[in-house]
Structures are given as structure tokens and as C-alpha cells.
């Protein structure tokens, strides 16, 4: 019903609607961030591409060398062309994508465990533990990451045996790269988590939890950590993109995942000599890296806006 001033009163159904849950609020805000939504769709398609593609093309085909057919331009039999030793680039981007995404996610998990662990202990206990852990963190930050990565990759690279997982055999260098990336990127997350813990541990509900006899461990895990989940989720998302990029650097320099296991990064390794001659060598893996990292960064942005408790927009 309309009032004289032209104001519309809410309809009865609207008034009776139950309040939005946190998940619904989150989805409303995330949906409004167009680029983040586009990023999420793109990332889903890329995941589908590298997981679904393996149903049509075998790994043996991706690693099958035919030197007679080297540097073929895209054609009907090899839609993305062939590389310097005649392997099919389409099949290699599919299997390489699996490894690149795996490295991104697994390195993020390593980073999460170390970063949250160090940040939580430093922030919650403070004093000596804080000083000690933060000095260690700063020491890690002071080492130029790329050199550390290269040296670690060179010294650990060949030592880890191949791993069997999900019916595939992974080069041990994949595990090495995951650990190396995780070990060199947890410092920023640790600082974020520490800062969150420092402010949250002064909150009344932490005092109230202590007054009901809650142990330190469950205060950290059940009370403070869930409250600092927003910045952690954002940082973790962005770190997936960073890990994929880092893997590309190292692999491009020939110290990352060793062939014949393909990754988007090591597919670029041989390409720099043929930038003009055989552009399909770098266009396809390069575009995939670009799209993946870009999508992840947009998703990270969207999450930051959607999870910000201070944002009042519905």
C-alpha cells in the first residue's frame, strides 16, 4: 500500500523472511563483484579443462616424443602444434595444468600451515615467543626469495623419489617445488595472522572463554582463528596465484619440475629461443598461466570485499 509521501511499505512476506545467513550475505556481496565472478567462472573452466581433458588424451600421448614432427604449427592432428621434440602441446597443457594447479594448491597449504602456526603462536603468546618467531620471520624475509628458491631447487631437486598418486606418477621434483615455494612464502601470512591474533586476544570474548576454563589451544583454534578467517582466506587465495607464477619462474629457468612431467612453467623453458619462429610454443601455456593467475587475483579481491566485516553493503 502506498502512503501519501510515495513511500512503499514493505510487503508482509518481506517482513517475515528469515534473516540472511552469513553464507547468503557473503554470496550477495561476492556476486556483486563482477570481475571476481568472471574470475571464478574462468578458473572453474580452466580446472575442467585440465581435469576433463585427461579423459580424452592420455599422459603417455602427452609425453610421446616424435622428433620427426618437431615444431609443427597448429593443425587438425595437433591443434596447439608440437614442441621442440615433437610432443603435442594440447595434451601437455592439459597434464601441465594439473601439475601447475596442484602445485598452487599444495604450496598454499604448506604456506597456510607454517604461516598460521607461526603467526598464531607469536600473536597469542607474545613476549619472548613473539620476538623469537618474528625475528625468524624477518630473517626469512631478508633473503632474496628468488635466489633462495633457485639454490633450494638445485640442491633438493633431484633427491626426492617419484611419487605415485591418483594413478599418476609424479616427478619427485614436484614435491620439492611445493615444499620450496611453501617454505619461502609463509612470512606475509604469518605477519597477517599475528596482527589479527594480537588484536583479537584482547577482546572480551577471549577473557570470557578463559573464565570458563577454556584451554589455550582451544582458545586459539576455536575462538580466535575463526574470527581471523577472512584475511587468511584472502591471503591464501592470492598465494595460490603466486605459487603458480613462482613455479613458472623456476621451471622457466630449468630448475623446477623436470621433464617429461609437464607444467605450464617448464613448457616455456624451451620456448624463448623460438619466440618469433614458433609462437605456439609460448602462447598457449603463457595464456593459461596468465588467465589462471588473473582469475585467482580477481577472486581474491572479491573475497576481500565480501568477507570484510566492516563492509555494511548488502
Amino acid at each position: 500500500m502506498d502512503t501519501a509521501a510515495g513511500l512503499t511499505l514493505p510487503r508482509l512476506e518481506e517482513l517475515e523472511a528469515p534473516p540472511l545467513s552469513l553464507a547468503q550475505l557473503f554470496w550477495r556481496r561476492f556476486r556483486r563483484h563482477r570481475m571476481a565472478l568472471a574470475g571464478a567462472v574462468t578458473l572453474a573452466l580452466l580446472t575442467l579443462y585440465s581435469l576433463g581433458g585427461s579423459l580424452f588424451l592420455t599422459e603417455a600421448f602427452a609425453n610421446f616424443t616424435q622428433t620427426a614432427l618437431r615444431l609443427q604449427a597448429p593443425s587438425a592432428s595437433h591443434p596447439f602444434g608440437t614442441d621442440t621434440i615433437g610432443r603435442d602441446i594440447l595434451a601437455r597443457t592439459i597434464y601441465g595444468g594439473q601439475i601447475s594447479l596442484l602445485i598452487g594448491l599444495a604450496a598454499m597449504l604448506v604456506e597456510l600451515v607454517i604461516g598460521v602456526g607461526v603467526g598464531a603462536l607469536a600473536g597469542y603468546y607474545g613476549k619472548v615467543i613473539d620476538s623469537l618467531l618474528m625475528r625468524i620471520t624477518e630473517a626469512w624475509l631478508n633473503i632474496p626469495a628468488l635466489f633462495l628458491l633457485l639454490i633450494m631447487a638445485k640442491s633438493f631437486g633431484g633427491r626426492i623419489p617419484d611419487v605415485q598418486l591418483l594413478g599418476r606418477s609424479f616427478s619427485g621434483s614436484v614435491v620439492a617445488i611445493i615444499l620450496i615455494i611453501g617454505l619461502t612464502s609463509w612470512m606475509y601470512l604469518a605477519r597477517i595472522v599475528r596482527a589479527e591474533f594480537l588484536s583479537l586476544k584482547e577482546q572480551d570474548f577471549v577473557l570470557a572463554a578463559r573464565a570458563t576454563g577454556t584451554s589455550d589451544l582451544s582458545i586459539i583454534l576455536q575462538h580466535i582463528l575463526p574470527n581471523s578467517v577472512a584475511p587468511i582466506v584472502v591471503a591464501a587465495t592470492l598465494s595460490v596465484g603466486n605459487a603458480i607464477l613462482t613455479e613458472s619462474y623456476i621451471s622457466f629457468l630449468g630448475l623446477g619440475v623436470q621433464p617429461p612431467t609437464a607444467t605450464w612453467g617448464n613448457m616455456l623453458e624451451g620456448a624463448h629461443g623460438y619466440i618469433e619462429q614458433a609462437p605456439w610454443l609460448w602462447i598457449f601455456p603463457g595464456t593459461l598461466i596468465l588467465l589462471t593467475v588473473l582469475s585467482i587475483n580477481f577472486i581474491g579481491d572479491g573475497l576481500r570485499d565480501a568477507l570484510d566485516p566492516r563492509s555494511r553493503a548488502i
Binding site: L22, A211, T212, G213, T214, S215, P226
Partner: protein, 328 residues
């Protein structure tokens, strides 16, 4: 009835950049089982600190319990291992805080926060903890508790949150409930409801209550006995009716004079206490209330009066007799 809690010569200090703050300066009192004691005094006089320090809830450093004992049953709370103390906190001593808006964890459901307390202290499984939680919520007057378990604190009003906090404090049937200004952050009608709830629960569960407040109206309706604190000292201890009808300490007298009363003419003005509370950074010389006291004598500035029993159940720390205006 036996003695439940006996605090002896408790001293708490805070080491700050400006110096040592003497927050609690040697207070002693005892609590009987099932008794309700009100601890009153103005802001910053050490009420909360004296209670939090016996459960070791003050941050150390800067805080430090310099001296004293807090005997709960046979054990000294100040000497217990942290793990044993965790069993006592929330198990045998429940605590309710001032601001229910910030004392509940915003990202956990009300149900989870209460069941968690139960499961930390009892060996109950999920289902029985849930049943007990429903019973508790019902007991503190939160209707439709079944649906409320899944609610988050932001879906509760201030009064409902304080009821949930009380339910949490009572989860393990504590022998002692410490209520740290539980009505200060609520509006008057809700305050009355919470006080009424506390009375009912005391009747039903028989626990002892320490009610920290600066609201003398609440004290009159609730407490058996009153402890008056000033500048970290206990200055008077009396049964509640005695305190209101015959206050002995000049500070208590001034507090009562500063209250609005319905039996006084509307035109009469409230009497504030002149001056300000002493700076706790300095070591006190003489009685800390002397600079604001209307009965001050030379002796007050030189010597701090000890808390001594004057009649059975009545203790006072003052050199003067306010009824005669003469030295005691």
C-alpha cells in the same frame, strides 16, 4: 554452612611505564557457601581486578599478584597449576562479565559456546551436552531454546546475551558465581530482569554469588552482605541492612548521600563527593580517603586505619566515629 572462599591479604600491582600501580592493597574477606556478597566502590577502585586476580585472569605482565592467598576449599587458587585452574574456572567458579555485547564470540553459535564449556569440564557426549544446554537456556529464561541454539550472538538482544552468558557461567553448576557488573551495560528494565533472574537462580541452585557493582540500588535488592572498596582497600564490611541504615565509613556515607532518593524533595540536589580518587601510582600515606573526607583528623593523614571488626559481622577501617563525630 562452611567457608567457601577465603581471601587473605591480597595485593595486586600493575607495572606500567609510568610506574607501579597499586590496584589492590591487601584485602581480606571470606565467603560462606550460598551467600550473596556485593562488592561496591567507584570505577578504578580495584573491584574487578581483585576478583579477576583470584582466578588469575589479569594479564601478567604488567599485572602481578604480589602477595596473598585465595583459599577455595583447601586449595590456594594463586598457587595452582594452570591446568588445575582451568578446571576450576567455569567448573566450580563461574564468571559473568560486564558487557554481553563483546563477551560472546561473534562467529560461534550460542549453542556451541555453551556446549563447549560443558564438554571442557564434564565427560558428557554431544547429545547430553545439548540436552543440558537446552535446560540451561530454559532456566535463564530464553524461550524457544531449541531454535536459539543455532543463532549467532548478533541475533540476540543485550538482555538475551547476558542471559546466555549466565547460562554459560552456570553450565557446570558452580559453587561460586562471580558477576562483574553484569547489569551495567543494560538498560534499566533489563537490569531489573537480570537481578530478578539472579535471585531465582540463587534460590534454585544455592550457589554463592559475588556481585561487583557500583549500583547501590541493585545491592539493596540482592546482597546479604556488602564489602565497600576504596582505592584498593576494603574500608567497610557490613550486612546489607546495617550498611544502609547505619553506614559507618565516611566514604559509604558519601556514596549513600550521592544517591537520588524518592523520599527526598525533588528540589534537593544530589551531593557529589568532593575531589577525585587518589592516584594509585603513589604509595599511600595515611588514609586514602582523607583528602575527600569530612571527618578528617590529623591521625588520618599519618596512619592508614586497618580494617577491624567493631561489632559481630561489621568491620570498618576508619579512625573516626561518624555517628558522634569523635575519634573512635
Amino acid at each position: 554452612m562452611g567457608t567457601l572462599l577465603e581471601v587473605q591479604d591480597l595485593r595486586v600491582r600493575f607495572h606500567t611505564t609510568e610506574g607501579v600501580v597499586h590496584a589492590v592493597n591487601g584485602i581480606s574477606y571470606s565467603m560462606q557457601e550460598g551467600e550473596t556478597v556485593a562488592l561496591v566502590g567507584e570505577s578504578g577502585c580495584g573491584k574487578s581486578v581483585s576478583m579477576m586476580s583470584i582466578l588469575r585472569l589479569i594479564p601478567c605482565p604488567p599485572g602481578e599478584v604480589a602477595e596473598g592467598r585465595a583459599l577455595f576449599g583447601q586449595r590456594d587458587l594463586l598457587q595452582l597449576e594452570e591446568a588445575e585452574l582451568e578446571r576450576i574456572r567455569g567448573g566450580q567458579i563461574g564468571m559473568v562479565f560486564q558487557d554481553p555485547m563483546t563477551s560472546l564470540n561473534p562467529v560461534l553459535t550460542i549453542g556451541r559456546q555453551i556446549t563447549e564449556t560443558l564438554r571442557a569440564h564434564t565427560s558428557s557426549d554431544g547429545a547430553s551436552a545439548r540436552t543440558r544446554t537446552l535446560e540451561l537456556l530454559d532456566m535463564v529464561g530464553l524461550p524457544a531454546a531449541e531454535e536459539r541454539l543455532q543463532d549467532y550472538p548478533h541475533q540476540f538482544s543485550g538482555g538475551m546475551r547476558q542471559r546466555a552468558m549466565i547460562a554459560m557461567a552456570l553450565a557446570c553448576s558452580p559453587k561460586l558465581l562471580i558477576a562483574d557488573e553484569p547489569t551495567t551495560a543494560l538498560d534499566v528494565t533489563i537490569q531489573a530482569q537480570i537481578v530478578e533472574l539472579a535471585l531465582q537462580l540463587r534460590e534454585r541452585l544455592g550457589m554463592a554469588i559475588i556481585w561487583i557493582t557500583h549500583d547501590l540500588g541493585v545491592v539493596a535488592g540482592l546482597a546479604d552482605r556488602v564489602l565497600v572498596m576504596y582505592a584498593g582497600y576494603l574500608v567497610e564490611e557490613a550486612p546489607v541492612l546495617e550498611l544502609f541504615s547505619r553506614p559507618w565509613h565516611p566514604y559509604t556515607l558519601s556514596l549513600l548521600a550521592a544517591l537520588p532518593r524518592v523520599d527526598r524533595p525533588r528540589s534537593s540536589r544530589l551531593k557529589p563527593i568532593p575531589g577525585a580518587p587518589p592516584n594509585l601510582l603513589a604509595e599511600a600515606h595515611g588514609c586514602p580517603f582523607a583528602p575527600r573526607c569530612g571527618f578528617v583528623m590529623n591521625r588520618c593523614r599519618a596512619e592508614n586505619p586497618p580494617l577491624v571488626e567493631i561489632e559481630a559481622g561489621r568491620k570498618l577501617a576508619c579512625w573516626a566515629n561518624v555517628e558522634t563525630g569523635q575519634p573512635r
